[in-house]
Every structure is written in structure tokens, then in C-alpha cells.
Amino acid sequence: MAFLVTSGTKALIQGMTGKEGQRALGWMRAAGTEVLAGVTPGKGGQEVGGVPVFDSVAEATVAFPQINATTLYVPPRFVLSAFREAAQADIPLIHIFAENVPVKDTAEMIELSGQKNIRVVGPSSVGVFSPGVGRLGTAGGGDESNFLAPSGVGGVAIISKSGGMIPTLAFPLTQAGIAQTTVVGIGGDSLVGSTYADLLDLIAADGQTKALFIIGEIGGSYEEQLAEAIIQTHFAKPVVALITGLFAQTLPQGSTFGHAGAIVSRTEGTREGKIKALQRAGVTILDDASQVARVVGEVL
């Protein structure tokens, strides 16, 4: 088992003719996901790696009505229009790779997704990777030796704002023999389609996922909301969290760091506040990232 990306995922890639889109195609197929079609306006009729390209999502979904997930590899200024096309075609899972998407566009996508019951991952997300099952986007990278597919004993799910931290911290888990069921890069923007808390029900329901490891950072309220959701839903699986941003707290208010959502604020989203909230919900806090395998191993 896995969540979000399963053996039943039938994918579309919007922006497939671009360099990053072609990379996503190769890696998604290598991970076991069937990519049925691509979309690039003006390039309909072409093929990339034997996969047909259409001018619009509507045309692609008419040709392949079984498409149930799409990944957007388009520049930030075209994300909203690409999303609207996918939403119009009622694709239930939409992943957005691009960084630097205006907050207004993200807010609009979140509101539309609520109206149409669509699950959105991103923007600014590397995607979803279920080792041994499949991939949406480029999560996990091209080197799958960082990851270990679960066998009979199951494994841990990883949800991270940062895409790069996923293979970095999956690697020591893999070395310690701890498998990963599904890893998700939710993105580091201030507004994202899926938060940690949004994915909690999927993790609770997934029999193979025995524990959750989250990688969080300063800014926003998603870690605090996860803590609230753990308590409210009586989430029973162990949770380990790494929260970065100690240094950032020493700098002037308003300073930003790489991720748009990682903003120094004195009033909310502090590292200390997040750690306290998570500890109240029974989450184990990882003080030193190099200890991830030991700590996750202990809670499993």
C-alpha cells in the first residue's frame, strides 16, 4: 500500500515537452507510474518518449479518460491557467512543481480545489514518491538507492516542506533498514494545497505506514495545525518532527530564507512555538538531524 500515488495512478504531465517535464516523464516511468499523455499548448500531435502530446487537458482526457492525476511542469506565470484546465477536466489529484507562484494564484487554486473536491500538492513541491510503487513529479530524485520500498513490516511516511531534505534524510533511514511508504514534498510556500494535517487521514488509513516523520521549518502555522489535528483525530501512529530555523530567529523580522513561507515573525510561526505545540500532541522532536534513523527506529 501507499497513499496519493498508488499502483492505480494514471498520470498526465502538463509541460511535458520542456526539459523538467521530460525529466519528470523519465523518472515517473522508472518508478512504475504509467504516464498516458502530456500537454503543451501548440505542440499537440508530437510525442515525447512515445507518449502523445495534446494541446489541451480537455483533449488529453477525452483520449485517456482514465487519467486520475496530473503534474504541472510549467513556468510560474502559466501555473494558474494550467491548473484551471486540469480542474475543469475534474482530475482529482494535481501536483504543482513551480516555485515563485504568486500567492493570489495559489489562493485561487485552493479555493477552486475546495469547490471541486480536488487534492492539490504544491506549489513549489517536488511531488510524491511511493518507493516500489510510483511517482508523481520528481520527488526522491533519480537515485532511488536513497530509498527503501516497504516489505511485509511496512515503513515510515515522510512529509516535508523541503524537497531536498527528503532524499537527504531518507538515506540514513534506508541504511538502517527502515522503509518508506510514501514521501511527499508539500512545498515551502506560505499557502500550499496540501498541509501536513490534510494528509493525516490518508496516513491513518494506510496499513503499511507505521509512523510519520515530518520535516518542518519556521513560518506559517502548518506544523501547529498538524499538532491540533493529531489531538482532534486521535491519530494513533507515532510522529517524529524536525523543525529548522533556529538561526533565522536571530535575524530581523521579515527576513526570508529560500522558501517563501519561511519568514521571520515575532508573533507566529516561531520554531519554539511549533516545537511546543507538537510536543503537546505527543510528537517526538528530533534535535539533531543526524539522529533520524535512531529516533524513527525507536518509535516504530
Partner: protein
């Protein structure tokens, strides 16, 4: 991008939101005594307000009341001699007629990460010190797709709420705040305003190029910050220098990689007591040229003893291309001929082994201390390794 009060009020006035009558006086106009004519139509008392990019101006003495026209010169002289909390001198002052009013209200529109939507916040107890009284604020969730049709927190304010919603959405703002908001002769008037714009939406706002450059924290950017941002925006592939902060007196140049890993790296340096000279980050598979240019910006910082290139195990960033850019930038810098300069690289991801071979080969004839750490080295351990190398080099110098 944070706007000054004057810039914010220009946007509000254009949307037919009432603001006080005012005149902007620059330091040049003041020094040339050119302001007399422009202020002659204003009535006193008035407020002289330094146009700096942070809050709590009243408490910092950056807003002063001018009772009569005769006092104006003294007040302006005093205000232009002051600096803001970023130690930037006051360069313009908004002189604004005082408006009689009773209660002061607070009204703002912004995005809430909790609601993941647009929210209007309101309080009937606005004015100075709202941060401390934040608990009194009431929140009303709005749609981003359709203008508000009701405002239960104070129905009388609905027309203003609708105007603010339009300002917020049309200008790609992330915050539009009016505080205080007062009533004068039955009309709602904005006495002070703060607007923040979403910098990444600049592609659809050519008019923003008229605003002078500034950092997200409100201070004018340093030359290196400006250069780094220009590098990052030179094409749409990846980021390289979008965030750049300088810390005077630091001895280590930072080239972190990955938004999340960069925070972890900085935390690790802090914990071992190393003082970085900067923070910057590249990720998302930027080109070799962008990384080269960013490296040059970092290595233009004087008196460095080390370059710290540490990042996560990349998903898709080409480690060969990006490290080639780092080496290009290093070889073009003055540090290329500095004996015992430390370069510590910790990377994993596409083509990392090939990249390490290339780095070793290209730096073989240089007298640098080169430490290359692959994906199995924990990111956090790199700070301790760097500390040891710095200490060893310091001993050699003694």
C-alpha cells in the same frame, strides 16, 4: 515588497478610499527650501511622518505633530536628522493634515495560512500598539474569487471592505492594512496605511519598476543583495541568490543549497559557534552560469577564510553543473590565490561523484584546503568539520 505609507496611500486614493490631504517632502526639497510653496495650502495642525519601512514610528519619534506653520521648519529639521531602526537616514517626510475623530479602528486584508484564504481583520480599538492588543482582533474569511457581499464584523464598513478587497487582489498585495481608520463627518478616512506586495507577481506589474529597490525586511538592499537577486532572476530556471543576507564580520561565505537544507545548515553553524558572512541559497537546478555569478557575489565579501557549499541530496539539481559554477566563481575571485583558503562541499544528487572528480581536478594546482563530503555525510556534521578546519588553519597562521 513593503511600500511606504505614501506609496500605499497613493494606491488607496486611486481606489477612491479617503486619505488625509498631504504633501510629500524630500530631503532635497527641504534643503533647497522648495517645500514652502507646496505646503502652503495645508491646514495646521498637521503630522510630519518619516517615510520609513517599519512600524511603531510614533513610538520611535518618527511621527511628530506640527501645531502651526511656524513650527514646520524645526520639526522637519529634527526628523531629517533621524534614522530608522535599520540605521537608514530619513529621506522623505509625509506632511499630512490632522483629522478630528473619536474612535480609532483597525482594518486589514491579508492571507491566512491557517484559513488558506483571504481574511479581513477588524478591531474597533485600533491605533498605536495593535501588536500588543492582537487578541482583540476579529477575523472574517473572504473569497479570492468573488468580492465580499457582507461584513458581519461591522456592516457599516462593507463598502470600504469591498474597496480594500479590490486593492488587495488587483495589486497582488499580501497585506493591506489601515490603522488607524477613523470617521470624520460621516466619512471613513485612512490615517495610516501599510501595503505589502507579492514580489514574485512582478511579471504582471510593470508599474512596480517605478518603486525604489528594498529588501523584504524593509531595509534598502546592499549592493551584493541587489546583485544576487539580479542573478537569480536572470532566467526562470531555478533560484540562485533570490534570498541574500549579509552579516558583517563573518568569516565564512555561505552557498547553501535547498530551501529547507539551507535553514538546517545555518542552524548547525550557529550551534558550533561559526559566524557566517552571509546567507544565500541556490536550488531548483539553476544553470552553471547563475551559480558562477552567485559564487562571485559571495566571494566579493572581504576577509573570508572559507567557502561553505552545503546542501541536501538533490532530487533533480545537476550537481556537476552547479559545482562547476562554484569552481568558476572561485577561480574568478581574489580567494583563488589565497593560501589555505578552505572550501568545504557537501552534496548528493545527480552526477555528484563526477562533480567531485571535476572539482578535485580543477583545483589541484591551487593551495586550497578542499573537503568534499558526499550524500552519506549528515548535513549537520559539516559545521563541526568546518570548525576543525578553521581552527587548524588559525593555528598555522599563529
Amino acid at each position: 515588497m513593503i511600500l511606504t505609507e505614501h506609496e500605499a496611500k497613493q494606491l488607496l486614493a486611486a481606489a477612491q478610499i479617503a486619505v488625509s490631504r498631504s504633501v510629500l517632502i524630500t530631503k532635497e526639497q527641504f534643503e533647497d527650501a522648495l517645500y514652502f510653496e507646496t505646503t502652503s495650502h495645508l491646514q495646521f495642525p498637521a503630522f510630519a511622518k518619516a517615510q520609513v519601512l517599519h512600524g511603531n514610528r510614533a513610538l520611535s519619534g518618527l511621527i511628530q505633530k506640527v501645531e502651526t506653520a511656524q513650527q514646520l521648519d524645526d520639526v522637519l529639521t529634527n526628523l531629517f536628522s533621524l534614522s530608522d531602526q535599520n540605521k537608514q537616514p530619513v529621506t522623505s517626510i509625509l506632511l499630512e493634515e490632522a483629522i478630528e475623530h473619536d474612535a480609532q479602528h483597525y482594518l486589514s486584508v491579508s492571507y491566512s495560512t491557517r484559513e488558506r484564504s483571504v481574511v479581513m481583520q477588524y478591531s474597533d480599538a485600533g491605533g498605536v500598539g495593535m501588536d500588543e492588543r492582537g487578541g482583540e482582533m476579529q477575523t472574517h474569511i473572504l473569497s479570492i474569487l468573488t468580492p465580499p457581499t457582507s461584513f458581519p464584523l461591522n456592516p457599516e464598513l462593507l463598502p470600504l471592505v469591498q474597496q480594500l478587497w479590490h486593492v488587495f487582489t488587483q495589486h497582488d498585495a499580501t497585506l493591506v492594512e489601515i490603522n488607524p481608520l477613523v470617521q470624520n463627518n460621516g466619512e471613513w478616512v485612512c490615517l495610516d496605511a501599510k501595503i505589502e506586495l507579492d514580489s514574485v507577481a512582478a511579471f504582471r506589474h510593470s508599474e512596480w519598476s517605478a518603486y525604489p529597490a528594498r529588501t523584504t525586511a524593509g531595509a534598502p538592499p546592499t549592493e551584493r543583495e541587489q546583485k544576487a537577486k539580479a542573478v537569480s532572476r536572470s532566467d526562470h530556471r531555478g533560484v540562485a541568490g533570490e534570498s541574500f543576507l549579509e552579516f558583517p564580520g563573518g568569516e565564512v561565505g555561505i552557498m547553501a543549497s535547498g530551501g529547507g537544507a539551507s535553514l538546517l545548515v545555518m542552524d548547525a553553524l550557529l550551534l558550533v559557534g561559526i559566524k557566517p558572512a552571509n546567507y544565500t541559497e541556490y536550488s531548483g537546478n539553476p544553470t552553471r552560469e547563475k551559480v558562477h555569478q552567485l559564487t562571485e557575489v559571495v566571494l566579493s565579501i572581504p576577509r573570508l577564510n572559507a567557502l561553505f557549499v552545503v546542501g541536501s541530496n538533490a532530487n533533480f539539481t545537476d550537481i556537476y553543473e552547479t559545482l562547476a559554477g562554484v569552481v568558476d566563481g572561485f577561480l574568478a575571485s581574489a580567494y583563488a590565490s589565497q593560501e589555505g583558503f578552505i572550501i568545504l562541499i557537501r552534496r548528493g544528487g545527480p552526477r555528484w561523484q563526477e562533480a567531485f572528480e571535476m572539482v578535485r581536478e580543477r583545483l589541484a594546482d591551487r593551495s586550497v584546503i578542499l573537503e568534499l563530503l558526499g550524500p552519506d555525510a549528515p548535513v549537520t556534521s559539516t559545521a563541526g568539520i568546518l570548525k576543525e578546519l578553521l581552527e587548524q588553519q588559525a593555528k598555522k597562521k599563529v
